[in-house]
Symmetry: none
Subunit: 202 residues, 4 copies
């Protein structure tokens, strides 16, 4: 009566996992977070509802998994300057959040997270921490380059950079097309001044 790694019985069909994730992403774009139902996901995926609940305890976990699936934000490659790096980073963030599927869903998920500490924990580990680490790496590059004397307040920078994009898109509902440049220029100037770096002669 031990149930270790040695699987017993029929193994899970990995195509089912993929079908669920794909169906959730497609449906989020079509009906939104609140309009998404487990029955619709199962039908779209061509599977039974039981196969979903065998994998995820609740609907929210299923959506969470589908949203964060492979969505780890990559640190953009070194462009040679802080301004270039920040612009690239902003483009990555804007690109992800402009995806109509995950768009509003992320906000709803944040609401859910606010009421569910377990989900919050997983969200932090999976999403927030790696992103913060990526931001830190990018800033360290600037220090190494000599563009900043020392590292700024990374927590604040992280909240500021992502939060600005979030607010721009989902609160102000502005057009994101030139946001990366504007945000990067602003952040770059801020970082240089807060890091007590004398302004360059430009």
């Amino acid at each position: 009566m031990e149930h270790n790694g040695q699987q017993v019985g029929r193994p899970r069909d990995s195509r089912v996992d993929e079908a669920i994730t794909a169906a959730v992403q497609k449906l989020l774009g079509e009906v939104g977070y609140a309009g998404l139902t487990v029955a619709a996901v199962a039908e779209r995926a061509g599977i039974g509802r039981a196969s979903i609940y065998r994998r995820y305890a609740t609907k929210h976990e299923m959506i969470f998994a589908a949203i964060v699936h492979g969505e780890v934000l990559e640190v953009p490659p070194d462009t040679g300057s802080l301004l270039g790096d920040l612009t690239a980073l902003a483009r990555v963030i804007v690109g992800h959040l402009s995806n109509p599927a995950a768009a509003g869903a992320l906000m709803s998920l944040l609401g859910e997270i606010a009421a569910d500490p377990a989900l919050a924990e997983r969200f932090t580990t999976t999403f927030v921490a790696p992103e913060r680490a990526g931001n830190a790496e990018l800033l360290e590059r600037a220090v190494r380059r000599g563009e900043m004397e020392r590292l700024p307040d990374i927590d604040l920078f992280h909240a500021m950079f992502g939060g600005t994009v979030l607010s721009w898109l989902f609160i102000s509902h502005h057009d994101p097309h030139d946001l990366p440049e504007r945000l990067a220029r602003f952040a770059c100037a801020a970082l240089r001044s807060t890091a007590h770096q004398p302004l360059p002669s430009n």
Copy 2:
């Protein structure tokens, strides 16, 4: 076109409106956005469910109205310096968003808004536009004081300032106690440098 030249029929009881708003706010703090039901609101308010649906077409509209009710963020009084003003503004925002009632509810509402253009419109008019105007006023004070040469990119500043608080609280889940000072200092430095104002000697 016979809107209401003179009232006909029994007029609405304003105490019912107040009871609904109060009940929603209290229940949001107790059970959260997802756990809130119309029946619970009616019971808590001591009214019938019909009286709610007479005022709001859906549960979401009711919650929206209760959240934004009288929540217009006041522009803090002039403290004599940009840094002081920004600190005060951050404190107001943090104060509102730390309210456990509206806390997660606001995020869920933002998710709802992303899927409902009508709600988005009302949210912008009621909430976003006044707040942006408040930010602008505060920055104009700084220009008049001579702390900045000219107004910065107000849309970007607005998204940055509020977005940072949002992200700090609901994505990073950091402690907000010293956020106002840190954010204000950061923003102040950024504004001064982006506005091409030479740094003072201090």
Copy 3:
């Protein structure tokens, strides 16, 4: 400080009473007993709901009043023979119950009556007793004519005669066009034999 028969204040508008009765009868034919609503009656009658409740305590009383309004079954005039009188009586009953308005409504009303003793009392007084008396009068004519030796069991006859029509129309859903003749012939034969009248030689 006495408030006797002397009316004071605005008197009731008799056109309102008529409009209510007419609207109920018309609507019963259109939407049936269960589909009838007080609001629909008021709208059709061009009056306010309060004016209905000022006259009738409940919806059922209103319908009751509209159904029994002036529906007292008249005893048909003497045709000279029991068979003729019974045929005429059956025609009157069939005529009343074939009215599509009151048709199903009467059955629903009987269901209501079974659960409401007060309504039952009024129904008996207004409807059942006069009808039984009419039946008795008709049978007495036959005795006076010498067609029967003595009066039969009037309660049974009354239940039989009306009940047969009721069942024919609302349980069997048969065509009523030749029912009066068939029923009258049957009843006539039954009455003659139960009244110990020797069968005619034919």
Copy 4:
């Protein structure tokens, strides 16, 4: 066309069907037709409301099914005489209609039926036709016995016999205790006399 070659999915629980029927019958006796609610039935039956709506499209269909469930009136066994058979038949009918549960409910159901042709169809098939057939069988026995020369007008007899009981109980509200004997004697005499007369037209 894939109706049910072989069953797929979880089969329905027959205990749920029984629980619904039992709960409806009990509640009809307690609160009557109009006072019966689907929620109360579900609670009494210890099941969910969805399980009721999975079986019946509306409340009325549920009540209909519960009332007619196994209520097929059995033809009483041969007593050796027409009078005896009719007395037994009358007792069966009175017995069924005196059941306080189905009592007023049947009348309300008849009202419902008058406004719903689909329900009427099912009522005729399930209830009326078998009962008429039973009446016919009983009368044929009398013909075979030689008590009647030939069969009377069966439609009329059927409407008369059941209709009389209906009217006696629900319109006149008389005591049913000696109704079977009185009705049987009356009907017996009527049948003997009408069956000895040549039927006029047919």
